[in-house]
């Protein structure tokens, strides 16, 4: 089992300069969607942070979420795993197998009881006693309940763990449910998406590490920093929507000109996620940038709400009026987002005070 010394001690022992550490903190601020000026406060908090134990359970899933995490660029997965967290069990990534792997999980659960973070990807099948997905002869339900009992908090990674996902699609043959349908007595953070944006997974872990608490969540348990606005709100094609410029087919003049994909079924206006700014594949782009509408994969039931190519329902009024209404709604959402802690951050910046960790926590 690893020693849980502070990050500052480990970096100093490795000969990492303070300047390198500050650069790392600047990257962390970007990743956590915090103001870039908060890097100094992050540095102060991280210097004293201890490495939390993490147990990752994979249930009824396709391993796409793990694939996503292993393509996380900032910081690298290696540094996340070896410097920031102690990943004590992940049956896809760990070298150990069989009894040795299960033993590692048991030991971590015992040693860090009440303190470890439990990450779950995949839904949990309940039908027929849970026989449709088992690990080492035990049902997913049994394993989840045991690991959840000693967890400080649970992170449901991906739309399956967060909302039931594709296994939950009608007629739901295995009786698949989300983590939050089973566990009621622990804080649960949902990082939805199919798969979720890798940087968002690492950012939530980094937030927990930096502040010792989970970030602010929306009404579906998702971190507001990444799910607080819709794809549409942050889309670079949004001005086309405002101007009423819509592609009518995937190969018409409008599509070639990069016009709005709303009429081709884009679910951007109803989908909360950070794809439009955080982007994918090391920042290369996101679906709309590649000319395809958003599928809405971070929203509950996206798999059962009709065709990906049917436009979202709009009022009978002409689309320009609707666009204006949407713009107003966007403005209202922005006002709601300006919570007290944001105001405090701005006041601090105005009066040139240094941000503290408690400011960022919203205390």
């Amino acid at each position: 089992m690893t020693e849980h010394e502070t990050l500052e001690q480990r970096l100093h022992e490795q000969g990492i300069s303070r300047r390198s550490f500050l650069k790392f903190c600047a990257a962390m601020a970007t990743m956590m969607a915090l103001p870039p000026s908060s890097a100094t406060a992050i540095a102060a908090a991280l210097s004293q942070a201890k490495r939390p134990s993490v147990i990752w359970l994979s249930f009824q899933e396709c391993t796409g979420c793990t694939e996503s995490l292993t393509r996380s660029h900032s910081p690298t997965l290696e540094s996340m795993i070896f410097d920031l967290i102690s990943l004590d069990y992940h049956h896809t990534l760990q070298a150990a197998s069989g009894f040795a792997a299960e033993q590692a999980r048991d030991e971590a659960m015992k040693e860090f009881h009440g303190k470890y973070l439990l990450l779950v990807d995949g839904s949990i099948p309940l039908k027929d006693g849970g026989v449709y997905s088992t690990i080492a002869g035990r049902t997913n339900l049994d394993m989840l309940q045991e690991a959840a009992a000693g967890a400080a908090a649970i992170v449901a990674v991906g739309s399956c763990a967060a909302f039931g996902g594709l296994p939950n699609a009608q007629p739901n043959p295995t009786g698949a449910v989300a983590v939050s349908d089973i566990i009621k007595d622990k804080p649960i953070i949902n990082i939805s998406g199919c798969p979720p944006i890798p940087a968002v997974i690492t950012a939530v872990l980094a937030h927990y590490l930096t502040f010792g608490a989970l970030p602010a969540l929306d009404d579906l348990g998702r971190p507001k920093a990444f799910y607080g606005e819709t794809i549409h709100d942050r889309c670079y094609r949004r001005p086309m929507y405002e101007q009423g410029k819509f592609a009518k087919s995937f190969d018409d003049e409008g599509a070639r000109n990069g016009w709005c994909l709303y009429e081709l079924g884009c679910k951007g206006p109803t989908t909360h996620n950070a794809c439009a700014t955080t982007k994918w594949n090391g920042g290369a782009g996101f679906p709309i940038e590649a000319g395809h509408g958003c599928l809405g994969c971070s929203e509950p039931k996206f798999w059962d709400v009709g065709s990906f190519y049917t436009p979202l329902p709009a009022p009978a009024a002409d689309v320009t009026a609707f666009a204006q209404a949407a713009a107003l709604a966007g403005a209202a959402a922005a006002v709601v987002l300006s919570t007290a802690d944001r105001a405090k951050q701005r006041r601090a910046q105005r009066s040139r005070q240094k941000l503290t960790v408690s400011d960022l926590k919203g205390e």
């Binding site: 990492i16 300069s17 303070r18 300047r19 390198s20 500050l22 650069k23 790392f24 600047a26 990257a27 601020a29 970007t30 990743m31 969607a33 103001p35 870039p36 000026s37 660029h73 900032s74 910081p75 690298t76 942050r234 889309c235 670079y236 094609r237 949004r238 001005p239 070639r256 000109n257 990069g258 439009a276 700014t277 955080t278 090391g282 920042g283 782009g285 940038e289 040139r352």
Partner: protein
């Protein structure tokens, strides 16, 4: 065959407006820096730019007299733009991926300053070397 026969078009950046909006923001921050000395950071990764707009911003800001390269857990590129006091700071990780992309309004980007902890470490190393040579 002329250029007009090719279906790909150069995007009209001004019709979208995001670059103009950011340039106004930079001007406001720069004015504040001139008046009060307050520095500022703008996180470009948090802004919704198309690739064409991003390149457009680079062109608009241009390059000034100074550039610097930092080698610390991967490279970092820093250069002053055509507008003195406006620095473009890009941090890469060891694999060469961009991990932070910032505009910094300051006389010198903060990360270029020697850090007191590093100076102290260096001083101890130098004193140790001198004591070995005696």
């Amino acid at each position: 065959m002329s250029l007009d026969d090719i279906s790909i078009k150069v995007a009209d950046l001004h019709s979208i407006g995001s670059v103009d909006a950011l340039l106004n923001e930079i001007a406001t921050r720069l004015q504040r820096f001139v008046t009060t000395g307050e520095t500022a950071l703008i996180d470009l990764k948090g802004l919704p730019f198309s690739p064409a707009e991003y390149e457009g911003l680079r062109t608009m800001l241009g390059r000034g007299e100074i550039s610097a390269r930092l080698e610390a857990i991967g490279d970092s590129e820093l250069y002053e733009t055509h507008y003195p006091g406006v620095w473009w700071v890009t941090h890469y990780n060891v694999e060469g991926d961009v991990i932070a992309d910032l505009l910094e309004i300051a006389a010198v980007p903060a990360i270029l300053h020697s850090q007191p902890e590093d100076v102290q470490d260096g001083l101890e190393r130098l004193q140790h070397t001198l004591s070995q040579n005696k």
